[in-house]
Amino acid sequence: MTEVLQNLFWILIFPGFLFTACFGLIACWIVRKVSALVQWRVGPPFYQPFVDVIKLMGKEILVPQQAQRTVFLTAPLVGLAGLLLLSTMLWRITIEPTVPFVGDVIVAIYLMALPSLALILGSSASASPHAAVGTSREMKLVMSYELPLVMAFIVVIIKSGGQLSLATLAQQTPALSISGMLAFLVSLLCIQAKLGFVPFDIAEAETELGSGVLMEYSGALLAVWKLIQAMMLVAMPLFLVIMFLGGFGTSGMSLVWGICKYVLILVLMILIKNTNPRVRIDQAMKFFWIYCGIVLAVAILLATIGDCYGINWL
């Protein structure tokens, strides 16, 4: 009984829902504030993302007449559930490196894809032409960034000598070698696309598609999507920190160091976001498959050579 309670506490309160959501909403504020400063504005107060979510909770939920109701209403919850598992897993590994199981990297990669799939399901169930265009773009985007992302993780796995557990991967810092650095840069761009940030906000494209995939969502359902986006802002950079930058410590200096790594990734993403225009979907596909693909092929080659001959910096 106590074990069940303990697990519930982990999932719902401490490293899981409550903690990640609050952390994520603050990260959301950092994104908005830094973007405002870059554009020479003042920007919103720090509680703004919290108020937005609270407000959306109190609004009316509208369901389009022709929508597939069940899918439309459950898709955000599916996405939230996937993300909740992912973030709980990542934080648990950080806090207690003894609990993980072999192969949790693969589970984490699957869970990372779940919010995007839920978004595709939900928006295609809404029967709106704008959302349909957004959905098809989101689908193409998912197809284009998933491959480079997995290839980048393969580089890390090769460098660690075939380890498949996050806790052991978190002990190393592949970003200090040439192939690891290349893989890190590519995966940063993939995360950018996963979070739907400019230059890869093609599916949401406010100016052409309204809000694209999220167009028909209102009220509490939209609040769930906003929470998902906020939590992704925690989970994805954290995953990169664990894979490439040597993990997140839990005591003293290593905690501060871990937060510095997280903030570094966040700031890099915000700067990319604010200095680039939106690309077209075909440009994004070409970018991910051809350019990122070539870079990663080189990285995998270097990593394999380095692994065979024991050269760590390759």
Partner: protein
Amino acid sequence: MSWKIWSLKKSPWVFHVNTGACNNCDIEIVNLLTPKFDVERFGIKLVGSPRHADALLVTGVVTRQAAPRLQEVYRQTSKPCVVFAIGACACDKGIFHNGYHVVGPVDKIIKEIDPNAIIAYVPGCPPKPEAMISGVVKALSTL
């Protein structure tokens, strides 16, 4: 004050509807988002879909073509929401008063489908951004 109203005041998301404006009011609305006025300080954000909006910023006289669309957009907005009639045209037809294509000021068209709609008026041709901010503040303080 209930939490719903409080949070609505702290983060009004607005959707911009042009129902036949001469485009000058629209430019002034866009002005609100620029560094000089920066309404994101107060949590005001321009959104792309009426379903996300808490306030509709309607500019222009309502033309015959635009009237049913305006009503549809109002129906699609999740309640509670506030309608802002921005500019002399939207408040009382302005210089297009006797135009053959004009069916009425914004409040008349909205009240046809929802007699209890909350409507705020910001007159001016075009109204200054300061006037719009003050209008938003006054409308929200009556909620």
